[in-house]
């Protein structure tokens, strides 16, 4: 057997939000945990994120929004992934997301939402335990 492939994660900032402290901290933590991390940079459209995820053949997409646009952008990304037939990528999200929004985001296929105060090692172990391929 060849050595096991590293977990590949696309960390992404959909929409116009410029708050990237959280996503950069998480990118660093995932790299320290031995994952390969690609960061899209700011102001990515859902189309660009889905395209990057397919191009980079990632196992995980980690999305961060602090502007309140998660209600539109997260479901839109899931919709586009569905259209492209991508169903084995784990999609997680974080940012300023009210608790009451979480159930509907999960219904649309976001696997988990991590809010302020989350430990980065909880995100690492969540990813390790919930990969879909």
């Amino acid at each position: 057997m060849a050595t096991k492939r590293k977990i590949r994660v696309l960390t992404a900032k959909p929409g116009l939000d410029g708050h990237d402290r959280g996503i950069k901290v998480i990118a660093n933590a995932l790299m320290d945990a031995g994952m390969e991390v690609i960061y899209t940079g700011l102001r990515q459209t859902p189309e660009q994120i889905v395209e990057a995820a397919i191009q980079e053949d990632v196992d995980v997409i980690a999305l961060s929004i602090l502007s309140g646009a998660h209600d539109f952008l997260f479901p839109r990304i899931m919709e586009l992934l569905g259209e492209k037939g991508v169903d084995d990528v784990l999609v997680i999200g974080g940012g300023i997301i009210p608790d009451e929004d979480i159930p509907s985001l999960k219904e649309r296929g976001i696997a988990e939402i991590f809010g302020p105060g989350t430990r980065t090692d909880d995100i690492v172990s969540y990813i390790e335990n919930n990969l879909r391929r």
């Binding site: 116009l16 700011l42 309140g68």
Partner: protein
């Protein structure tokens, strides 16, 4: 400040005291092996006159209202006039936000502070595809002068001062403000307020840039020059450390990177042919009030001293107002916890107190619910009351710089000053702030500090009450403020109506003039003013400038 026999006696006394303490410490050690500030500056067990013996009072501290302004920019500070209580607010439509402003003014707020939504901040109209999901979310949606007229309806612009958090399209929003004032028969020279207009920190920390650095700096110097003649009471820029700190920097980095940006603006204006004393009195600053109470107070004091020295020594300013650092402060949003959110009221109170003891000119106090959403009316009221409690009940406003002369505060002020100066030297070596940003230096420094901070929390070295210690099970917060997604639809309809009612030929002509002006060297402000008066939209004006200037492409600082 202290010399001779007295200081020798203190040194002897300190030595004896330390000897006596040694066996006690062996038996009962202190809580930690090393004590450091939130920025990592080592803290001694106790401070005495010895640490500040060589401090020269008149050149390092001076008297209030005098160079180097360490003790405050006004001779009487809050004995004369309290700081401006200015809560950053905006959401949904101009009508929604106008209602919140009038509520805040009724509650005793003394200035306005406009939060714009992201499409507005990035120069897109509400009908732009990239605006989907963002309209009215983090601030008010402004597409044209028509929205701005509604935003300030029944608010007399000759009576209030208004701060606008707007950067890349600052020229356009300032022009709209001037145009609204014209309709109220208020002259530009009567207007008081601030535009943030600080593009460099957008590249390094906040993210709402549009154009590349060079044309952005040109727009900024055009604004300096225009306002020095036409809107003389306006603060033409608010050079901001706030967002640098929010992005994860230390206090020392916040100060250093902000002042390095300030140096870049002063250099740009001087190279554009302006005289330093013509524009420098209207420069203002914006800092964060973070958790480490005493370090923050020292930071504010060090900031004034350092800027005064830079302006006098480096830029040869002669007018004392050019050397006087006036600043706004906001409590640290990144320290608000989603867990046990009522604790945030107390966090904010300590942070606000540090800003007042640090001599701020205006203050925004965050609301307890902002780790979830925009603040509710009740939460904002508590936040404003926190400022009023400090102002009217605590007594700290009754003498100038009450902590001045504290051995620790003075020593810490000096250490922060020196640490920031070292960073500024390093940035000078890299070719200045714009170049250090292009090289990713500032972004990397900030993100390394942010990661270190997070690791410290996760290792339990840094306690966050309610988050990694003293946790409880709790119910989610209810009655959060929600922005109606219909805001986008109504904005789009308004845009359609506007475009059917205005003189489109005239708009087209002015936008053509704007392109031509952008290609040349003339000041852009007069033609932008003409454009907004003709009801050209924000997106149309910014698109005309995009055609000429292009868009900024950020450098990546994550990974290899």
């Amino acid at each position: 400040m202290f010399e001779g026999e007295g200081i020798e006696q203190i040194k002897d006394g300190y030595r004896e005291w330390s000897e006596k303490l040694r066996p006690k410490l062996a038996k009962r050690p202190e809580r930690k092996a090393d004590f450091v500030t939130a920025s990592g500056i080592p803290i001694r067990r106790v401070y005495t006159p010895v640490e500040i013996a060589d401090l020269d009072y008149m050149s390092e501290l001076g008297l209030p209202g005098e160079y180097p302004f360490t003790r405050g920019v006004q001779p009487t500070m809050y004995r004369g006039r309290l700081w401006t209580m200015r809560q950053y607010a905006g959401f949904g439509t101009a009508e929604d936000t106008n209602r919140r402003y009038r509520f805040l003014l009724e509650q005793g707020q003394t200035g306005l502070s406009v939060a714009f939504d992201l499409p507005t901040q990035i120069g897109y109209d509400s009908d732009h595809p990239l605006a989907t999901g963002e309209v009215g979310k983090v601030g008010v949606a402004i597409d044209s002068l028509r929205d701005m007229e509604i935003l300030f309806d029944q608010i007399p612009l000759d009576k209030v001062s208004t701060s606008m958090t707007i950067n890349a399209p600052a020229a356009v929003l300032l022009a709209m403000y001037i145009a609204v004032a014209e309709k109220q028969d208020v002259l530009p020279k009567e207007l008081r307020g601030t535009i943030q207009n600080d593009i460099l920190k957008e590249y390094s920390a906040r993210g709402t840039y549009i154009f590349p650095p060079k044309p952005s700096m040109r727009i900024i110097t055009d604004i300096f020059s225009f306002c020095s003649r036409e809107v003389p009471q306006w603060n033409t820029i608010s050079i901001s450390g706030y967002h640098i700190r929010e992005a994860g920097s230390t206090a020392v980095q916040e100060l250093a990177f902000t002042l390095a940006d300030g140096i870049a603006y002063v250099e740009a204006a001087i190279s554009a042919g302006l005289d330093v004393d013509e524009f420098a009195p209207r420069l203002s600053f914006f800092f964060n009030a973070h958790l480490d109470f005493l370090e923050e107070i020292a930071k504010f004091r060090a900031a004034r001293r350092l800027w005064a020295k830079i302006m006098r020594e480096r830029f040869k300013a002669k007018d004392p107002r050019s050397m006087m650092m006036r600043f706004h402060t906001q409590t640290a949003g990144c320290t608000l916890a989603a867990q046990q959110p009522k604790n945030n009221i107390v966090r904010v109170a300590f942070q606000a107190l540090s800003a007042v003891l640090g001599g701020t000119q205006s203050l925004h106090t965050n609301s307890m619910d902002e780790a979830f959403c925009l603040p509710s009316e009740e939460a904002v009221q508590i936040a404003l009351r926190t400022q009023q409690l400090i102002a009217y009940e605590s007594g700290v406003t009754d003498t100038v710089d009450p902590l001045g002369g504290s051995y620790y505060i003075e020593e810490l002020t000096r250490e922060i000053f020196d640490g920031a100066q070292d960073y500024i030297d390093k940035i000078d070596e890299l070719g200045g702030a714009a170049s250090a940003i292009e090289k990713g230096f500032i972004q990397r420094e900030i993100q390394e500090s942010a990661y270190r901070y997070q690791r410290e929390i996760e290792k339990g070295e840094r306690v966050v009450v309610g988050v990694n210690k003293f946790q409880v099970a709790e119910e989610p917060l209810r009655d959060l403020l929600r922005v109606d997604p219909a805001v986008r639809i109504s904005q789009i309809e308004e845009l359609k109506t506007l475009k059917s009612e205005r003189g489109n030929g005239r708009v087209k002509g002015i936008l053509g003039e704007l392109r031509k002006a952008a290609q040349g060297n003339d000041n852009l402000m007069p033609v932008i003013l003409d454009a907004v008066r003709a009801y050209a939209t924000l997106g149309e004006i910014c698109d005309a400038l995009r055609d000429v200037f292009g868009e900024y492409q950020p450098v990546s600082t994550v990974g290899g």
